[in-house]
Symmetry: C2
Subunit: 367 residues, 2 copies
Amino acid sequence: MGDELTLQGLHDLAEGAAVLGTGGGGDPYIGRLLVERELAEGRRVRIIGADELPDDALVLPSSMMGAPTVFVEKLPSGGGNVAAFRALEEHLGRRAYAVMPTECGGLNSMIPLMLGAQLDLPVVDADGMGRAFPELQMQTFGVLGVSGSPMAIASDHGDTCIIDAGDNKRMEQMARALTIQMGGASYISDYPMDTAEVRRTSVHGTLSLCRDIGRTLREARAAHTDPFDALTAMLADTIYSLGVVLFRGKVVDVERRTVDGFARGKALLQAVEDPDDVLEITFQNEHLVARRNGRVIAIVPDLICTLATDTGAPVPTESLAYGQRLTVYAISTPPIMRTPDALACFGPAGFGLTDPYTPLEDLLPVS
Amino acid sequence: MGDELTLQGLHDLAEGAAVLGTGGGGDPYIGRLLVERELAEGRRVRIIGADELPDDALVLPSSMMGAPTVFVEKLPSGGGNVAAFRALEEHLGRRAYAVMPTECGGLNSMIPLMLGAQLDLPVVDADGMGRAFPELQMQTFGVLGVSGSPMAIASDHGDTCIIDAGDNKRMEQMARALTIQMGGASYISDYPMDTAEVRRTSVHGTLSLCRDIGRTLREARAAHTDPFDALTAMLADTIYSLGVVLFRGKVVDVERRTVDGFARGKALLQAVEDPDDVLEITFQNEHLVARRNGRVIAIVPDLICTLATDTGAPVPTESLAYGQRLTVYAISTPPIMRTPDALACFGPAGFGLTDPYTPLEDLLPVS
């Protein structure tokens, strides 16, 4: 990528990020507005590959923490991310060379772009999930040995904390408790890394991929071709390799609670042609498992995306509503996310699910 | 005081601290053992007056945070307080000259003595409450303008956090949430102060006073004289001035829950001679208000102490039990704790009580 993000590129990236956000990671519209404001004020977003980093760079990820249901009511301020980023720099006694995302998501892919524009720092084209996950320890960074600590967390009131936990799961628990105290949403900077760690532990090229997904959907709409076919064709040449339509139906029930700092719940879809054919999706901020008539047909960390049937536009969990026509689209997660250590961290067991992990391609009906 | 604490002095101090702990501040037996271990290993406790500090000293208070009901089951480790103290020093980029207590209490008066012995630092003979209170913002330090932040908090797992809040009440809320995550008990160092701030904002001489209270009770027991009369005579010459027996009875009911990180509840006492004469004490870690037959007869920040009727030994809230013979003894709080700003912070309204503050001496029956 290596060059400046255009307004069109930003729109594409925001939409693609919400697709890979698998229902979580925040609303793409809110996130996009934060970056649009920066571009409108003459600042610029520079995206660079991990291979373009100097060898001695310090890279700090930046994101928001909390339930997406809260972000809708409490719009993010720009200052919180700067406060967390600067607090971590100060604690480390070093300036960062670049910022990077921790996950793909409508909001959390945008936060590092906003911060990069505000602080005039490049944004690394990589992240720690290649999708969105609800908890901080669920990152390839940690799976591959990087400590999430020290991390910084900031509130809308200008309060900051530095957490130094010996374990990334305990870091998550402490940061979650603080986020709840901070009003359900907070600004964080965690997993400080050097160049070698970024190159070794991250999912590469995900910002470019988000932009490509968004462009593919936009071009399909303009050409009046099927957006899902276009998406499947495009993904075939990426590290994700497989994208497939799992189900088409309408939302007939949504159960959603904001509890323990997460948006937890279930959505039930009914096939348009056959009311007895139902799909149930369970989510914790992100979609975790899809069961068709009781049988698991896709499960975390493979991606379960809820997209509008007419346009392919991603619909986040906090926007799921009765009557929506949705296409449930699954994407196989990249190999770095399917190792035994990775599955122990963010496979089904990491979410308390008793279903085993079965790769998406093994769950597909033989056609 | 200025000299080394003896084993006898330690025993007296622990008992006196539990008296001023007004039911909270932790168990004096557990706290005493922590310091006894240090003395047994040849380390020493040096107590100095605030007037003996060099003008440019950095003083860091040290204490435990959490519900006393938890401390009983989860004994404090020495390492946690050192970790919090060192984390705050590191954050400030400066070594402390001395440690000091934040409150009087069976456990929290002992923690700084233990730390002083471990780190070979003097302990300042002063604190921020002159009694115990359940929340971190409830300190004369903060009432008189000192920021509680930055503060350090450590867990038994070796995790540490630095909290930098713009407001002492928000600092309390964040630290409380972390303490709950840390298992209900944590080790903290807060309100970093210079010499001038210590001198201006603290309640002076409270360690000496605790030791004098303990010695008075011990000597009364040895002489077979009334410990409460002896206490009243001794307090007359201190900044507390008034000590008075409010009620003698037995415990007939205790309602106690560990909720939101606090031990909350009520105790009901019945007069030995007259079963219709009852006293109800409401507590949040510490005793907040005493109502005799429905009428308030003592209220926070005046001190309400539950002492064993036969010995005068303090009985903390977590040890209250059916059938105990208790004497409820009240002590008027020093003038620095009765200013309008002080009452706004830790008077009845600070605890959500609707009763107004009335000084102890105005509530006494004219005799």
